[in-house]
């Protein structure tokens, strides 16, 4: 009888008690995680609203519109305005931080490793984001510079030149951003080099073969320009 009682306590009740204790500990951890996430959601929402309203008062949207970022935000449908997007980014970062803090609280090697990797990766992600924003601004600025200069020079393909300028700057930007986040670095660089080299070679061959006379006339007019009498004017603008 005593043996049976001991067996019952050691083989059945003991493990069950341990399991219950472990479940209780896990449950408290889970509640802790959920509380942290809930807190993150609340703090994130409050931070988003504050940032959105403060940026609106500071006319951040107007600044972004001038820089051309507003149009990108609007067209991409990311958010209803640039200041709202800034608020949403802040909210996302706060919630992500809360989630990672919660996971870290579990204390298992797996979660600890995951948190560590995310935190190491985050600066690269932010840098890539910054590269993209700067790239968009530079591409718009250079595109507009080329467009105005080409129109003022009377080049018929002004819009094409401006578009190509924007395209190449954006390609460079995307390559730099992807390189920063470490996505198939070598593949991207090789693909870009082949693509870029191919386009340039194709253009050179097409121009050399298909427009030999045009190239001749263009170079001739460049180095020994001769104006027709009807093109002459003697305007003094000032």
């Amino acid at each position: 009888m005593t043996v049976m009682k001991t067996f019952w306590q050691q083989a059945i009740l003991g493990p069950l008690r341990d399991l219950g204790q472990q479940a209780l500990a896990s449950l408290s951890s889970l509640i802790g995680i959920l509380s942290l996430i809930l807190l993150g959601i609340i703090v994130g929402w409050v931070a988003k609203e504050i940032i959105y309203r403060v940026l609106r008062v500071l006319r951040f949207d107007r600044l972004c519109d001038r820089l051309g970022v507003g149009l990108v935000v609007e067209r991409s449908g990311l958010a209803r305005s640039s200041s709202y997007l800034a608020g949403e980014i802040a909210q996302g970062l706060i919630i992500l931080t809360a989630l990672l803090a919660g996971l870290n609280g579990l204390g298992t090697p797996l979660t600890r490793n995951l948190v560590e990797r995310v935190f190491l990766y985050l600066p690269h992600l932010l840098a890539a984001l910054l590269v993209m924003v700067v790239g968009v601004l530079v591409s718009r600025f250079l595109g507009r510079s080329v467009l105005i200069a080409a129109v003022n020079a009377g080049l018929p393909s002004a819009r094409l030149l401006a578009g190509l300028t924007r395209f190449f700057v954006m390609v460079l930007t995307v390559v730099a951003a992807l390189d920063e986040v470490g996505i198939s670095r070598t593949t991207i660089i090789v693909t870009f080099a082949i693509l870029f080299g191919g386009v340039v070679t194709a253009a050179a061959i097409a121009f050399g073969l298909g427009a030999r006379d045009l190239a001749h006339d263009l170079l001739k007019s460049q180095f020994s320009p001769k104006k027709r009498p009807e093109d002459e004017d003697t305007m003094r603008h000032v």
């Binding site: 467009l147 093109d231 000032v238």
Partner: protein, 426 residues
């Protein structure tokens, strides 16, 4: 350091000359071919018109390499009343040619104003060194209003061909007249006379190391004199023949320099021009000349083609500057053939006002904005040339007058749109 050397040089000259009442300044840079005639005209003019007043001719040179200073010294009949100085010419002056064709003109004028102040002279006349049509009478016309009638700023008035000075006729004159209420016909003429007190006033301003001094000094002086209520008048100088503008000078860069300065000054003086409606005539001194100006030709077809391409290709840029109605009208104008092409005055003035507003609000990069005006300006040129093809000078003047009146009539639109300063709200 350079200032100290200049002070010593001026003090030495003044101690040998005694009190100087009049100064004639000739800024130069590689003008050996023409400056001799200008120096001779200046000394003859001073001798004829002001024989009993002590005068000094100052050549402020930017470091000419063609023997300009030697020519000046040889041409001078009275070396005692001649002073040759050098104004600093920074590398940027040599790299970027301003619209008036003289690198570092702002620096040269600053030097001349300093000499005027140091000499306590009553009047200063400044003439370009590349003039081919200068006569001794010019100095009487530029200086007499200051010495006799206490004027502070004497602007030149030249007899010009109807197609000459199209930026002045289309933008600078109508806009400055509507803004400041003074009908100063050629505010970027090149030659001018100023009183000693205005020279000191200019010297005290903090513009000498800015783009205003580098590229927009003429319009800055004229605007400052008008906006700050100095007495201004015109001197009728007759025809002007000078070396042609730098051949490589880009028209869009000229627009950036001139229109950029006018727009920038609108910000400086917005409290002044917002209280001005209508305009008053500016006194004209000197008898009208019978001069046949140098002929000027305009390639209307090419100017119109540039306008049409601008409206077609720069639409995304113009959408940020102009109202929907203006864009619609621009498209309609661009669809016209050369025979029927007209850019209405109301549309043109609206475009100028909206450009000034967009510049003020920094809708996008300011240099882009100013450069994008070039096709529109050429559109105005094409429209003006086509309409005035068979018109006399008097009829063309009437046409410019009509444009100015439209500019004055539409000024309330600009006033309504121009943002109030923080202290004025409520």
């Amino acid at each position: 350091m350079a200032e100290d050397i200049l002070k010593e040089q001026v003090a030495e000259k003044l101690s040998s000359l005694g009190a100087v009442e009049i100064i004639v300044g000739i800024p130069s840079y590689n003008n050996a071919r023409t400056i001799g005639q200008v120096v001779k005209a200046a000394q003859a003019g001073l001798l004829n018109s002001f024989p009993d007043r002590k005068a000094l001719v100052v050549n402020s040179d930017g470091g000419s390499q063609d023997g300009t200073q030697e020519v000046v010294e040889k041409a001078s009949v009275d070396t005692q009343a001649l002073m040759v100085v050098r104004h600093p010419l920074h590398p940027i002056h040599r790299l970027t040619t301003p619209y008036h064709g003289l690198p570092g003109k702002g620096s040269a004028l600053q030097t001349l104003f300093r000499i005027t102040e140091a000499a306590r002279a009553r009047a200063l006349a400044v003439v370009d060194a590349d003039l081919g049509s200068i006569t001794p009478e010019w100095f009487n016309l530029l200086l007499q209003p200051i010495l006799t009638w206490e004027f502070d700023y004497v602007a030149p008035y030249y007899t010009r061909h109807k197609y000459d000075g199209t930026i002045t006729n289309s933008i600078v004159y109508p806009l400055t007249r509507a803004l400041y209420g003074r009908r100063l016909r050629q505010p970027i003429g090149g030659e001018f006379g100023i009183s000693g007190r205005l020279a000191s006033h200019f010297l005290a301003r903090d513009v000498w190391n800015t783009d205003v001094a580098r590229y927009g000094i003429d319009i800055w002086m004229a605007t400052t004199a008008m906006a700050e209520n100095f007495k201004v008048c015109h001197a009728n100088l007759g025809g002007k023949i000078h070396d042609p503008m730098e051949p490589g000078l880009d028209l869009s860069a000229v627009l950036v320099q001139i229109v950029g300065t006018v727009f920038r000054l609108m910000e400086t003086y917005d409290l002044v021009w917002r209280n001005v409606l209508g305009s008053l005539p500016v006194a004209m001194l000197g008898l009208p000349f019978e001069v046949t100006p140098e002929p000027v030709t305009i390639n209307v077809q090419r100017a119109l083609a540039s306008f049409q391409q601008g409206v077609r290709d720069l639409l995304p840029v113009y959408e940020k500057m102009f109202a929907a109605e203006q864009l619609r009208e621009l498209k309609l104008c661009a669809a016209l053939s050369v025979d029927g092409f007209v850019l209405p005055d109301e549309l043109w003035v609206g475009l100028i006002y909206n450009s000034a507003l967009a510049y003020h609000r920094r809708v996008f990069d300011r240099e882009h904005l100013l450069k994008s005006l070039m096709p529109l300006y050429l559109g105005w040129v094409a429209s003006f040339a086509r309409q005035s093809e068979n018109e006399t000078s008097a009829q063309v003047d009437g046409r410019i007058e009509k444009l100015c009146l439209v500019c004055e009539q539409l000024k309330p639109y600009l006033l309504n749109q121009w943002p109030l300063q923080a202290g004025e709200k409520g």
